[in-house]
Amino acid sequence: MSDLFPATVTSIPAGLEGDEAQREAVRRYVAEVYARPLEAYAQRLRLPSGEDSYALVSSLVERILRDPAYLDRWRASGKRLHQWLANGLHLELRNELARRMRRSTKDLPEELGADQSPDAILRKGVAEALVARAVREAQSSLPGPQHWEILRRHVLEKLDFAALGEIYGVSAERAAVMARTARRRIRKSLEALLVQEGWAMEELGAGLDELLGDLS
């Protein structure tokens, strides 16, 4: 589990039902996991000159962290979290432009075009953030760095276990077991993160399929 997430809280929706400490921890988790994907998305928007994607996302992150009801409104909306946050980003930009340019927000929509589906950009960003976090969490629970390296090189470089065993000074079957251990830990971490994101235990297979679709 993420060290940001309270041990007693199993998911974002459950955390929002908890006490203020749990609700604050959920807000921090959402801010950390979603900030980078949101910035990647903001960078793909055709922002007016003078607008900075980092500043824009920081403004939204500040709202998430400082407004205790922000995520409650998301839950009430029925939208997926990434969609709600994307809308929030657009709202931040509209508000800022309206403030600066002293004109109505309804005059601005043509300035907000994106060259790629915001949904796809955000979903891919979030999926990548979850995979990176799952790998990092699994790494910290493995006996050493070799387990992950053997799995990574077996999957990405297509090196067989005999070759990897020679590289890392273990037998081929030991290399296979180390890769399997890493694989199982990462999958477990990823499943825990999906639960945090609100997936039900019995739907984790579908969650992993969706995550793979978002990455592809």
């Binding site: 801010a31 950390e32 900030a35 980078r36 910035e39 900075d52 980092y54 500043a55 824009l56 996302v57 920081s58 403004s59 992150v61 500040e62 962290l65 931040e92 930009l93 508000n95 800022e96 999926a127 990548e128 953030a129 995979v131 990176a132 976090r133 790998v135 990092r136 790494q139 992950w148 799995l151 990574r152 999957v155 990405l156 067989d160 276990f161 005999a162 065993g165 020679e166 000074g169 273990v170 037998s171 081929a172 079957e173 030991r174 290399a175 296979a176 077991v177 890769a179 399997r180 694989r183 199982r184 990462i186 999958r187 990823l190 297979g205 992993l208 995550l211 793979l212 990455l215 592809s216």
Partner: protein, 176 residues
Amino acid sequence: MSSEPTMLWPQGGGPTLDSTGLGADGDAARLVRALTSDDAATVDHLVSMLEAGADAEVERVLASAPIAALDPSGTAAGRGLLDGAASLESLRAAKDAVKADLSGATDEVSHARALLAYFMVTAAALRHHDTPIGARSRADMAPLLLEVATALPDAWLHLFAEAAMGDRGGAGAAGG
């Protein structure tokens, strides 16, 4: 939004794909495919079962009809697989019977036992006859055999490892 952004979240903070060695496009998807592949799930289940009692599981599989048929006396099927006494023809017949068991398995335990039997006969064919008798090549079978090997009793560990390694040598050839 203020003109000076509030630094509430650090640029560069938190794990990224780059920091985990998955920086190239498509790396994360390849990893997730490996995590969720049918092979991974099948091997994980078989290994979990073996970890709960490998000797008993091996005995049970050796007593199953397709494997017991390798030795008409009904007592030395295991030796036939381990020592190479079983002919390639008999291994092919056993493999066909085991495949029928695999397709007919109605629960995870039966499926895992049939899979272990399948691995035993295909490993024997690879090790003693240098011949893949299933749909997969030695290279395709090797990762599966190696992942299962260390959960097996020593004699079978060596058979599986040697089958996977081919002419590169068997268990222990690459060190501890």
